[in-house]
Symmetry: C2
Subunit: 219 residues, 2 copies
């Protein structure tokens, strides 16, 4: 299973959850079939790209017909491992961390925030959005063996230190919201989401890349 999976381009892999969500929507609406063109309009991805993406998994559709929503859904559910839940920890229950805890990532999602951690005694012991907030000293004990990935929303000065501890505790992926570019061993995957940079980049594009008719949109 894993050998063939490796053939799937990373760009495609990143779009899979997006496809999954929209197929899910269609299914809830009772739609039976969908074409790459329709899907394209909904998710704002070129229809040829969608067909190409799907084709990496074999022939999911039927010529002249399109894709069967039910079949597509069950296929993606399997492919995205929607049936097993991945446990996640969140570190840093501040403004951003609290917002995430209130948000139910489980909805349409195979991930669950099991624990949150903070160094602030006022927050420890509370429960936010159904997630218990633990003291950061308990990090290693709670995470070890159980938690696959971590969401990092601590102040940037603390980012590297916490990262090292997460790595020590066996976490294999980190979603880093701090502006710090953290250093990790090679087998650990880090995705950076840098909100200030996103905003600045948008503004830069507005000024320097005025959109003409027919131009591209970004992710």
């Amino acid at each position: 299973m894993d050998i063939e999976q490796h053939k799937i381009p990373q760009a495609t892999a990143k779009r899979l959850p997006l496809y999954y969500r929209f197929i899910n929507n269609l299914h809830s609406q009772g739609k039976q079939r969908v074409s790459s063109k329709e899907l394209s309009e909904a998710v704002k991805v070129d229809s040829a790209t969608i067909r190409r993406d799907f084709s990496y998994f074999g022939a999911l559709g039927k010529k002249g017909y399109g894709y069967n929503v039910e079949y597509l859904l069950s296929f993606f559910r399997k492919t995205l491992d929607q049936d097993e839940i991945t446990k996640v920890a969140l570190i840093g229950v501040g403004n951003l961390g609290t917002a995430f805890l209130h948000y139910n990532f489980m909805k349409n999602n195979n991930t669950k925030i099991e624990y949150a951690f903070d160094s602030n005694a006022d927050k420890v012991g509370t429960e936010i959005g159904g997630v218990p907030v633990k003291h950061i000293d308990e990090l290693e004990d709670m995470v070890k063996g159980d938690i696959t990935a971590a969401i990092l929303t601590v102040p940037s000065a603390a980012a590297q230190g916490i990262t090292d501890r997460l790595v020590q505790s066996g976490v294999s992926g980190i979603l880093n919201f701090t502006p710090a570019r953290i250093t990790v061993p090679e087998h650990i995957r880090v995705h950076h989401i840098d909100l200030s940079i996103e905003l600045q980049a948008l503004v830069y594009f507005l000024k320097h890349y005025p959109l003409e008719a027919g131009e591209e949109q970004e992710e």
Copy 2:
């Protein structure tokens, strides 16, 4: 100025704010010069890529020496228009919106959230993080002519409706945090930041693309 700017690859443009931030840090630390290799370690971008990126703007460095931090900083400040402030509005003062309001985007940044808007009467009239919260009915009046971009943090059901009103009011860029893929006229730029998808994609990569020594990290 704009004609030549268009030669800069989008991938490069997205990295500029990142470079700017780190150059700023170096400058604060009193560092005089920096090499592409050092910068590479700090921002986790290949040093060849950095040299290539910088070279789109001409010869910013000196062979055998590196880059002068002071010069680099002033160059990027100019290029990223750090001297003029771009006014931004935030729509939807919920969990996520509130977190953003508390965060000072002005710090190291040329953007300022001028107003926030919400439909909830309890929130209207308050001030969060120094930003006044207005009623959504005032959107058109406040935004018109004054605001360049908007941060969208409303429930996804409201996203398209608010988007249409933003477009009507002359906003030219939207940072969309809702899962809805909004439709806009061609001259409007939308960047989607879809946090659920980011988390799901990370998990997918962990399962299907285990990192070997020497492999790549994602943004």
